[in-house]
């Protein structure tokens, strides 16, 4: 469909450096066919060691009991669910970029969508760790699935938002993974055709599903992509809406809020773009893809961050206003406590990183220079982690009855497990950029052909 589109000559080019079609294939595939560099190896070692540490800590925790975490009778969730929501949030950018931006015909998404989708899948994997290990008896985690069983007519509780989570997250993961894989098929075929390694050839042959590049294949491929985009689009909204309902449907002041669904979705997009930005700034540097992931792409992402950050900030202020306007003493106390209580440092970290810091992207200079952009993208994620921490912990630690008020402090196990999921995430991501095409070759080529045509037109004029 997109072959026929013509973009305005005023738009900045999507691919710079006078690339030809061959260059694109070469630039994307060559790093995969070379031996791994020292940088990659070092990063891989680091992240896999972190993953190993996380796995060991989870093993220890499962052996001893959840008590090795810092939770207590008042605060039943803290690092676990914070990390869960954090990772689910990060997983939002991928689908947004590949599905919604596809439907909106945003050409600039082509260079970044593959990596962003991969990131989504890995982030959801990391997220999925927590609902399982946070259980008191994780070996019975399968009980949350409504499967036919011999325990009488024992069924799951369809009124529980945690159950909705199970469905939302698993659906999201499956659709994202399928979308990612389908999108990769033409590029897998390219790799198949290029590789001389027998094993790789065999594998790529299997996974490219006999791609022959015929017009009919392309037509079917485009149709399927569009259908999947249509399917994935509501999921972008539904997943975090449902995650937010874990809190919104409860009675706890600070959780029981109708603004949560949109607030969480926007926050997720915000954090997802923050993470994509962080990763792509690194990837384009490591893989020498500066001509594909151009400053134009990065700037666009900064704009999305600015927009979503502002919406998130607006939500924060709205929450405060509603706490006052509702006249609900508990609600009011919770918000006052967030801003001035013992966890005020977390609240103000969140406010600074999510509300104030992204506003710097109003300056073109900042959103077009790599270093500030990189720092800001990390701050966005720090802020978003703290947002979830603030929502979960500061609401729980001082709720209705002051007799039960308590404080929470994470243990080494919890911090280590969180780091371990970063290990998982980066191990997966490093394997991905090492063995799979990190940029959608065929999609970039489409954009490039349009761009070259346009340049031809300009030259002819």
């Amino acid at each position: 469909m997109s072959r026929l589109t013509v973009s305005s000559p005023l738009r900045p080019p999507q691919v710079t450096g006078e690339k030809s079609m061959v260059d694109v294939t070469e630039d994307v595939c060559r790093p995969l066919e070379r031996k791994a560099g020292a940088g990659w190896k070092l990063l891989f070692l680091l992240s896999s060691l972190t993953l190993l540490m996380g796995a060991a800590l989870v093993g220890y925790q499962i052996k001893k009991g959840i008590g090795v975490w810092g939770l207590n009778k008042t605060i039943g969730w803290a690092f676990d669910i914070t990390n869960f929501v954090f990772w689910v949030g990060i997983g939002h950018a991928g689908t947004l970029i590949s599905a919604i931006l596809l439907l909106f015909r945003q050409k600039w998404r082509t260079s970044i969508n593959r990596a962003a989708e991969a990131m989504t899948i890995f982030a959801v994997l990391c997220a999925a760790v927590f609902p399982v290990i946070h259980m008191g008896r994780p070996w019975l985690a399968f009980w949350v699935f409504p499967y036919p069983n011999l325990r009488g007519s024992l069924w799951v509780n369809f009124r529980s938002p945690l159950l909705w989570d199970v469905f939302a997250i698993s659906t999201y993961f499956i659709v994202s993974a399928v979308f990612w894989y389908i999108g990769m098929i033409p590029d897998l075929a390219t790799l198949r055709d290029r590789t001389t390694n027998k094993v790789k050839k065999r594998l790529f042959s299997v996974f490219s599903l006999g791609w022959d590049g015929s017009s009919r294949t392309w037509a079917r491929y485009e149709t399927l992509t569009l259908i999947l985009a249509g399917l994935a689009t509501p999921l972008v909204v539904s997943v975090h809406t449902i995650v937010s309902m874990d809190f919104a449907t409860s009675v706890i002041p600070g959780w029981h809020t109708t603004i949560f669904p949109p607030y969480f979705v926007v926050g997720a997009v915000f954090s997802g773009f923050g993470m994509v930005l962080t990763l792509l700034i690194l990837t384009r540097r490591v893989m020498h893809w500066e001509n594909y992931i151009t400053m134009h792409h990065l700037e666009n992402m900064c704009k999305v961050i600015l927009a979503t950050g502002s919406i998130v900030g607006f939500a924060y202020v709205t929450e405060f206003f509603m706490a006052w306007y509702s006249g609900n003493a508990y609600e009011m106390f919770t918000f006052k406590n967030r801003a001035t209580g013992p966890y005020a440092w977390a609240y103000w970290t969140m406010m600074t990183c999510n509300l104030i810091v992204p506003q710097l992207f109003w300056f073109k200079k900042i959103r077009t220079s790599i270093v500030p952009m990189f720092i800001l993208s990390i701050l966005v994620n720090v802020g978003m982690w703290f947002e979830r921490f603030v929502i979960i912990v500061t609401s729980l630690h001082r709720d209705f009855l002051p007799s039960s008020w308590a404080m929470y402090k994470p243990t080494f196990i919890e911090v280590g497990t969180f780091l371990g999921t970063f290990g998982l995430f980066f191990t997966c991501f490093l394997l991905f950029i090492r063995f799979l095409p990190g940029i959608a070759i065929h999609e970039v080529k489409i954009v490039l052909s349009a761009q070259n045509k346009r340049e031809e037109v300009i030259r002819n004029v």
């Binding site: 009991g65 008590g67 946070h134 008896r137 945690l162 449907t249 209705f400 002051p402 007799s403």
Partner: protein
């Protein structure tokens, strides 16, 4: 011996490998190891067979333990497996001697409850009494007699003791029986016989927390050295001076029952007004309508000030001038006026061990015409008759080498008194020292002979807690170990061929049976008394007594006493008190009591140094900073605890901690405050003047179950004053929300269970916490986990302060699962592990729980408890659930929860089920209040009411219509099944 080696190698050799054929030396060595060749000769064979047969025969002679699990072929009468029997007995947890009903399942006692027949406690029991069950099953108990640390047979021990006693008598040296107060008439008779048999022997009794001054003052004031009984139920005005009568003083369960009967609101009856003048912030002080904090050295002067004011109202002679600096004189005068207006219907009590203070109290009560009305000097108490001067004399005699034999029962003199250090030294000079302690303690660790006695649930005994009121103690179980009762030992040494059971019965037949007219045979009388646990002689009405000593003399005596001189407003002093959980400290190895939060501080696992927040702030100290308390008698290191309501320069510390020999649980918990106590002029002194504090720079985790004391302006505990209540019974409870729902109301089944708690009747004594813990197998988690806020108690008592930090008002609120009709926990569980029952209960299904903790997060009352670890059979939680003996105390009706599951108050569903089944078996409808919750049964104040809301005539249904009734956080529309009645104080 290798017979083969002598033979020549045969010609035709079979070989297995080339190496063997070549006879490779390396190969030979290896082969030798591989199959050592050895064949037995005939002689060897016979030897071996003989050895084998011998071994088999020998081992067959040993007695291996027999584990019997045989169903009753001949079922003992009244014993059905799975059905509990109840037996009446008497508590020995403290000296009060409350009547108990003990639940026995399949031959083992598993729950201690109050005996409604006992006129003392009338069904209530305190935390200590209920927890005493676990002391029976304490795996650390002394399990057999020992001589100088080595096991010895009882007969051999008896022989040694008999010889020692005989030689002591022959040499004219003393044999001393050292005990706590013994009220049992049979035991006292036996001791008398013992003393007669061994001339020169004597009986010394003392009480670690002494009431000697009361008796001495009564001797001076009324000519009778007795401990009176008090009638808080007849007192419209109550003044407590340094007396924690609801928590630990004398007979707290009885006093709580009496006190509460006057605090419950009956139509048109004014509740009593209670003024507490005290130095420590006690449980009793937390219940007072007016609390006047004073420094310990102001006790005498505050009492005199009250006496002076009453004397003035009575028109008596003016008292000589005494120091009045810093006393709240205006308030004391107002109190005196109020007392005067309620002459004959008021009561002043003091826990001070200063005779002068007690004399002044006597004078006040006499002037107020209370003697013979609220103070009964006729039906006297038989508790606390000990004399510390006798102990001091004994220690001196021991030091001089005059004591040849010392038999110690019921006390722990090497620990539980300020003379313990001297005692330990002097004990070395006693040739025969013997301890009857059933559990390890500091004294048992030092004595020559350990003759471990019985826990009261294993023993026969009697008690006479009050003149004319007799309680029987009967064994619920055969002695668990090779122990023998203290009285049985005495009988043996006396050479009487009886056991104490027969002796006891004979004594009752001889002394008590003739004094009654109801029963025609002793057997009938005995069976009846044993069944009820109580026998009461008809008493006469108490008489008023004339005051011998006049108030002016008392004031002069006080002024003449140099030790009563005020230390000055800047001097630090310390008030040492009995903690509600451990009291004198004998039960320190009981994990239930160690983890029981103090009703006021909410501190578990150890004692703390209570200090006024302002004083701590001035010194820059915060909770948990360890400081050294330096006194004349030694130093003590304790973590600081900021306690609102403490007088500015007064410190408070609890007795009963810092045990050095008590078993794995109690050893080394807290610090021992006994050495700090004073002993002078024949009295233990619990107020310590001249204290200095020094920071140590260390800090300790103080395990508290509640860290925030303010209600933050929320209407959680609703309260009002009586004058407001008179005008409007709804006072303090006006803003009950109108609740609407989108959904049709929940359809209840045959029953709808509900509970109401009268906050005016709850004193916060915390007995219910232990009752619940015992009934429901609630685990103990230890100090570290409590510090992490992970205590497991299904019921807790929330304590809130209202007002300023110098002297706040205190509110107690029992809080457990509220069994909400619209339960927030139920909707959020993904696996339906918490569901609603047809009779209105919120139920937790342990088997189904996967442990997401969502329910606990969503609980507005935060009453759900999560099993963070395995608390049973886990060496890291080395408490009762990791002790094979202590596990016998588990309630077999209740699951021991595994790790990873949520738990909470089940509304004693097993009791509901039992009650329903019983009614069904008997073919009748359930009666109201037939089913009692564990927390409700033991409540001394009967503050908890449980019943069926579907029954319009039930007590609970009536309470629901009470103007005082409200539910906590009602506005959330969770529709709790548990409600509260507002607290109505009776302030001026």
């Amino acid at each position: 011996m290798k017979p083969d080696s002598k033979k020549p190698v045969p010609e035709k050799k079979a070989w297995k490998s080339l190496e063997e054929l070549r006879e490779d030396p390396a190969r030979r060595e290896g082969k030798a190891d591989e199959f050592p060749e050895w064949s037995a000769s005939r002689r060897d064979f016979l030897k071996l067979m003989g050895f084998g047969l011998g071994t088999v025969a020998m081992t067959a002679c040993t007695r291996s333990p027999v584990h019997k699990a045989i169903p009753f072929l001949q079922k003992p009468e009244e014993l059905t497996p799975g059905v509990a029997n109840w037996y009446a007995t008497t508590c020995a947890g403290c000296s009060a001697g409350c009547g108990l009903l003990v639940k026995s399942r399949d031959g083992r006692p598993i729950k201690v409850e109050g005996n409604p027949e006992s006129p003392l406690n009338q069904g209530g029991v305190c935390a200590l009494g209920q927890a005493s069950l676990l002391s029976l099953y304490d795996g650390a108990r002394l399990k057999a007699p020992r001589w100088e640390g080595n096991p010895i047979a009882w007969d051999a021990l008896d022989e040694k003791v008999r010889v020692a006693l005989a030689s002591a008598a022959a040499e004219g040296r003393k044999a001393v029986l050292l005990t706590g107060t013994i009220s049992g008439p049979s035991t006292l008779a036996l001791i008398e016989e013992f003393l007669k048999k061994f001339p020169g022997s004597s009986h010394v009794a003392y009480d670690p927390v002494s009431a000697k001054a009361i008796r001495e003052a009564n001797r001076r004031s009324f000519g009778a050295a007795v401990l009176p009984t008090y009638r808080f139920d007849l007192a419209e005005r109550i003044v407590g001076i340094q007396a924690d009568f609801l928590g630990s003083w004398l007979s707290p369960v009885e006093f709580t029952r009496q006190y509460v009967s006057r605090r419950k609101l009956k139509l048109g009856v004014e509740p009593s007004r209670h003024v507490q003048i005290e130095s420590d912030f006690s449980l009793t002080g937390s219940n007072a309508d007016l609390r006047l904090p004073i420094a310990p050295d102001q006790t005498a002067w505050a009492t005199l000030a009250l006496l002076e004011a009453v004397q003035a109202l009575a028109g008596g002679a003016a008292l000589p001038d005494f120091p009045k600096q810093g006393l709240p004189l205006e308030k004391i005068q107002a109190v005196a006026k109020d007392l005067w207006a309620h002459r004959g219907k008021s009561l002043v009590v003091s826990g001070s061990n200063e005779p002068v203070v007690q004399a002044a109290v006597n004078a006040i009560n006499a002037l107020l015409d209370n003697i013979g009305k609220t103070v009964d000097l006729d039906g006297v108490s038989r508790q606390k008759l000990g004399d510390e001067a006798a102990l001091a004399e004994l220690v001196a005699a021991m030091r001089r080498g005059e004591v040849a034999a010392l038999l110690i029962e019921g006390v722990n003199p090497a620990y539980d008194n300020p003379l313990a250090g001297e005692f330990r030294e002097a004990l070395k000079k006693v040739p025969l020292s013997l301890s009857f302690s059933p559990a390890p303690d500091e004294t048992a660790a030092l004595v020559r002979a350990q003759a471990p006695g019985l826990h009261f649930l294993e023993a026969w005994n009697d008690a006479e807690p009050r003149a004319g009121l007799f309680h029987l103690t009967q064994p619920l179980i055969a002695p668990l170990f090779d122990n023998r009762g203290f009285q049985d030992g005495l009988l043996r040494w006396l050479g009487l061929g009886q056991d104490f059971y027969r002796y006891l019965q004979a004594h009752w037949e001889k002394t008590l049976y003739p004094r009654q007219t109801k029963f025609l045979s002793f057997r009938e009388f005995w069976n009846h008394s044993l069944h009820d646990g109580v026998f009461r002689l008809p008493g006469s009405d108490p008489q008023a007594k004339a005051l011998v000593e006049n108030p002016v003399e008392i004031a002069r005596a006080a002024l003449a006493d140099p030790r009563l001189r005020a230390a000055g407003a800047e001097a630090l002093q310390m008030q040492v008190y009995e903690s509600v959980a451990l009291r004198e400290g004998a039960a320190a190895n009981n994990p239930w009591l160690q983890e029981l939060p103090d009703p006021v501080t909410k501190v578990t696992w150890g004692n703390v140094l209570k200090i006024a927040p302002a004083e701590a702030a001035r010194r820059g100290w915060k909770d948990g900073d360890v400081v050294r308390v330096e006194t004349e008698r030694g130093n003590l290191e304790l973590p600081v605890f900021l306690q609102p309501g403490m007088p500015a320069k007064t410190l408070g510390a609890a007795l009963g901690y810092g045990r050095t020999a008590a078993g794995k649980v109690g050893k080394g918990v807290g610090a021992d405050a006994y050495p700090m106590l004073g002993y002078a002029d024949g009295y233990f002194r619990y107020a310590i003047p001249g204290v200095r504090l020094a920071a140590t720079g260390r800090a300790q985790r103080v395990a508290t179950t509640q860290t925030h004391g303010s209600m933050e302006g929320r209407a959680i505990v609703r309260q009002t004053n009586f004058d407001e209540y008179k005008k409007n019974p709804r006072a303090g409870n006006e803003d009950r929300p109108k609740l609407i729902s989108l959904w049709p109301a929940w359809k209840e089944g045959a029953h709808s269970w509900g509970m109401a708690i009268d906050l005016n009747a709850c004193t916060g004594c915390s007995g219910c916490l232990i009752g619940c813990q015992v009934e429901n197998n609630v685990p103990v988690v230890g100090a570290e986990e409590v510090w992490r806020r992970r205590e497991m108690g299904w019921i807790r008592i929330d304590r809130y302060y209202v007002g300023d930090a110098e002297n706040p008002e205190t509110l107690h609120q029992p809080m457990m699962c509220q069994h909400c009709g619209n339960a927030p926990c139920e909707t959020v569980c993904p696996v339906l592990a918490t569901v609603h029952s047809s009779d209105g209960l919120n139920q937790q299904v342990y088997n189904r729980c996967v442990g997401t903790r969502y329910c606990a997060n969503n609980c507005p009352y935060k009453v759900r408890r999560f099993n963070w670890f395995d608390y049973a059979d886990n060496p890291e939680f080395d408490f009762n659930l990791n002790d094979q003996v202590a596990k016998l105390a588990l309630n077999p009706d209740i699951t021991v929860r595994s790790r990873g599951v949520m738990e909470k108050c089940s509304m004693c569903i097993q009791r509901i089920q039992e009650g329903k089944l019983q009614a069904k078996n008997e073919g009748r409808a359930l009666k109201d209040s037939e089913i009692q919750m564990a927390c409700q049964q033991s409540c001394p104040g009967k503050a908890i009411v449980f019943g069926d809301l579907n029954d319009p005539n039930s007590e609970i249904s009536k309470l629901l219509k009470d103007e005082r009734y409200y539910a906590v956080l009602e506005e959330l529309n969770v529709r709790p099944a548990v409600g509260y009645l507002t607290k109505v104080r009776n302030k001026e």
